[in-house]
Symmetry: D2
């Protein structure tokens, strides 16, 4: 495959460009018999949608998803689920300029050298808009995993630019445009973004994603460790430059006596591992952290070259997210859910009838701090 | 596949356990006509080998690789290359104890719940010993990429436990057991390790890996971005808990005006991107950083449970690396080479005859600091 | 993948059901820079279309294909090509009866036991209607292969029920509804079909497919032999029960002295191999023959069981092809083109820079009969 | 992958050449906990072994298989199973001649044009010797399928050259070197082969393979129909030129009223479908028939060209099977078992918890003839 399909057994194959007629996905491998409607997918699509606050791109997209196949009388049939989202806000654009230059930090230069030319419309295939069908597809996985194992996915922003966002209250996440688990810090975040926008600049963000009520035993021993596949999925999100599982880069300075999570009959005492042991889920919560770089499209001028290799100055106009990380939380959850789903099916294939005499212990012992 | 194959076109399929009769790999997709002998593979195998200093496991393994197929009269034929490494130091072990317990931080608990039981011999399939055939396989990729594009891979340790290792001199890397690019710091590292061993504890490490003279255009737009596949490969290495490309987690606090690498006719002015734009190689050096957790096998006691769920105290005996990161540099290089190789072949498939009018600019303009 | 994707490098992922809102495909891996428009795809879609003669189903479908992505300013970009065909003739159907029974020879019984229930609308996912997006996708492959190597695909019917159709004149194929390369036999075929329809019965057909101007060297040594992948593709077409390459089943009674195609400086003397040697294309024409079973939906009553396992009598009503083989020629060509395309890309990946000193000989020496 | 791996979830990756040091396979995806020893594999290896009668190649190979991994204390662990077979009879050969010519009907010409040169030792990678590790791998699948579902695989020769072999008695199959289910015809087959050998010629064969006690529901709707994957596997066997499922090419002349297998509460009334409906197993016996072409290596002279394109006469010397079909029965069984195994695991992945209210009917009603 040429890189537009994710997964081995639960596969998502996407198509579309930012300013083409439509984007979409084919979701294959969903178990049959699950109740599914477009409303199930719309919820996460709406969480990802642009134009919902002054801090994100003002592109107006309904992002209405249409289920084209794979569902009969409200239930999945086992056949592939075709998803279609029409692009409604394809502003006709004078992209002549863009085609003559390579914007610093953009995919322009790499695409041009790979394919010989490129589709300049709104970033074409490299646009973050392509995460919409992925989010819709993942909603199917989330629903199935929740019904099957009670697994739940959630995420929140833990840093915006240089501002750390202390975790306080998960219930706040959906109540502010930053997906911050902390109501008190919102004014500070708002001010930070306003200053940034005024400066014509952009910033990065750090997002945390979690899965709880994880089934044990997901992940394959060597190259398809659960955490390896998570890293793959996360680094595949636009603008992501780093991925951590559990203690992540902090584990470098940890000692073994501290890092290894002790087990007790009443549960794990800590979760430095981030939910996997030897690449296989342990039943602890999955803990993933990702770094999102600052948006490349900024109003301030940068040096670059044109198609003739001549030096030029590039300055982006138009509607752009000054921090793509603001909308990244639902996307990161989606990628995590897709990986877990694929591994849940893989696990059934090889180990459906494994009998384990040993009873699993709780994900976290009472009083332990999972993070 | 059940997770023991890496790659789509240049594939490495491994088998074997730490204390079984042999380990090995089938390497498929190598272009025909390349000179290849066992000596080409032995070099990197020897760099990875245990028992070469007092800071690593004292297991004595020759790690002699035998090429079983795919080479005729000293040249690759295009057929799969079978690699075999006999295990010579399979100490008969009293693993009865191990089988009754779940060691904290080990794969034991997860394997047991996945498969219903497990192979306790030296960690079985989850042992770092399994990286040997991968290193051998990657030597084939390295050779081909060097011949084809002049691409070179190298790595070094940048942090040992809490000690940062300032980069000074690449030529030092092969002259010390830590793969440190800094001769002055070696006594400090030695002392750190001696103290750790005395304490019966272990520590983590941070490894940097680089590829230079990279072809442009490798990587696929969406899910198989070059950096996504790198993250997958790196997180698949035993004990890795974090992966960064380019500026990594530092990019969170960067502004767009700083992060986006400016382009000039004489080259890129910086390399915060780490060598990819939109997931596709830009011709800049690949820059990857990984976090390796402290070894789980430590001499100091930890709390755990036994097969009956009863609380027990676990204390590891026997030969173990107090810092698996010490030997991880050649492994990380290997994984990077395998990903680049696979994408080099994928790129030829789709874009072999693309004509690019634009001349690429140098990877780094004179005077720029690539990191 | 769950079986709805064909190919490794040039992939076709389909979705849709016979009577859902739409069917379609995502085509991934097309080389960039090729001129492509909907008209290129429509030609073969029209050849496959129902309702074009009284001998095929009278379902009225426009089968208008829409390209949703992957093409910019009339050229492929290298991004996935989304194809959409709206179902326009979804007659509301009283399928209550169908849901209560298992029709002999239909997929009903197998689907029901696999998925627990099924989508009865026009056969759902098992309908031959799903070949439409495949035919559209293959038109892309055909165009590229023709531009790249001059490769051409064609097919014709060689047997209808018990009537053999002697090959006479390829130029007749598109001039009759049977794809017969023989004008003289058409009245006989018409009469045969009329009699069949009157009897409320159905019949099978044999289709020949060919590729000429084949590049040499396509196919992989062991499991992905070119002929193995052809067999896979052909047997994946609805109602196909047999596949032959070259001499096929006739080779059983041949002697080696007869079968092995002699080579001369002016070309191959015969083509019993059907265009492959050791599973790899030899430059000779590909010769494939397939058997299509009689349509299962017939007007005459057959014994079956209902959902309660009780015996019942089933009799199909409604519009059905009395011989699905009549419309199968463009489908078989499409499948052959998709396999050749995928292998053309695979070949470039591994062998793009192979230099062959030996000059290939012509596909057929003057005076030889290729079949 | 470059064509040396079969399967998606139960994968067999082979390596080796006819006259290299060893051949082997990595078998991945075997469910854990199954008792397995080398003796389980040796049985089928011995059935496939050369040198067992005067009608097959006199190469003396022990074909001793060594299990290198994936088994602990006599049980599969879920880790990949490494299989190794040393080549013991690698006669040093004067292949200088062979390298200068292209033998008609051999892979020489295609390999040379694909890879630029080739390994001439005993056919190298294109040798039928490579089926040995496949047969060993399939023995694992056979054992698991038998334990899990009672599924059994068997095969027999139904035609040798121009001699049809009427099916009489399955118990005879293992008692004669032809795998004929008919004791009476053996003298005739012996005479036929003796005459052939005297003439320095070769002949083809037709082999039937069956699976009984098939689980229902295996196979995926579109491109990975069970029969499509069977066709792929069968056509991947050396020298196979045709594959039929069920009625095969006979279905062309059948009417729908005859072909569609009627269902009754006490079972299917016939088995023209060959065990699949819509590409999904119906619980009926799988019925597969394959055509094997006459061996290309014959003693009688044939016209060909040399490396300079000059006409030459080729005449094979040395030990060769005058009918490779004689030893093909265990290989065809093996391929069938591998496909069924892979689909059994795939089925569990998607449909492990499907509840089917309808009771399956027997594979064949009393008194029906399954063929």
């Amino acid at each position: 495959m040429s890189g537009n399909t994710l997964g081995l057994l639960f596969t998502v194959t996407t198509f579309g460009e930012s300013h083409g007629p439509a984007i979409g996905a084919v979701v294959d491998g969903c178990p049959p018999g699950m109740a599914l409607s477009e409303a199930d997918l719309q919820l996460d699509l709406d969480r990802r949608k642009p134009g919902t606050s002054r801090h994100v791109t003002q592109r107006k997209e309904e992002d209405r998803v249409e289920i084209l196949s794979g569902v009969f009388e409200g239930k999945t049939t086992g056949a592939p689920i075709g998803l279609l989202i029409r692009n409604t806000d394809q502003r006709s654009q004078d992209y002549g300029d863009i085609l003559q230059t390579f914007r610093p930090g953009h995919a322009d230069y790499a695409y041009h050298h790979k394919y010989g030319f490129r589709d300049p419309r709104g970033g074409g295939r490299s646009s973050a808009r392509l995460t919409a069908p992925v989010v819709a597809a993942a909603a199917i996985a989330k629903k199935w995993l929740h019904q099957q194992y009670g697994t739940q996915f959630y995420g929140y922003m833990s840093q915006l630019g240089s501002l750390e966002i202390p975790f306080k209250d998960l219930s706040q996440v959906e109540k502010n445009p930053f997906f911050a688990a902390n109501a008190d810090i919102i004014p500070q975040l708002e001010a930070y973004m306003d200053e940034l926008r005024k400066a014509g600049d952009s910033c990065g963000a750090r997002i945390e994603v979690r899965a709880r009520n994880m089934p044990i035993g997901l992940g394959e021993p060597l190259f398809n460790k659960l955490d390896a596949d998570i890293a793959h999925a996360m680094m595949g999100i636009n603008a992501v430059k780093g991925v951590e599982i559990g203690a992540g880069f902090k584990s470098v300075a940890q000692r073994g006596s501290e890092h290894g999570d002790e087990m007790h009959p009443d549960g794990f005492a800590s979760n430095h591992s981030g939910g996997t042991l030897g690449g296989i889920s342990s039943g602890q919560d999955l803990r993933v952290s990702i770094a999102i770089k600052p948006t490349s499209s900024i109003m301030s001028p940068k040096q670059s070259i044109d198609l003739d290799g001549k030096p030029i100055t590039v300055q982006t106009k138009g509607r752009h997210d000054p921090c793509v990380g603001i909308r990244a939380t639902p996307i990161a959850e989606a990628m995590l859910a897709l990986v877990v789903m694929d591994h849940a099916l893989r696990h059934r294939a090889q180990c459906a009838d494994v009998q384990v005499a040993v009873k699993p212990i709780p994900a976290a012992r009472p009083g332990s701090t999972p993070d």
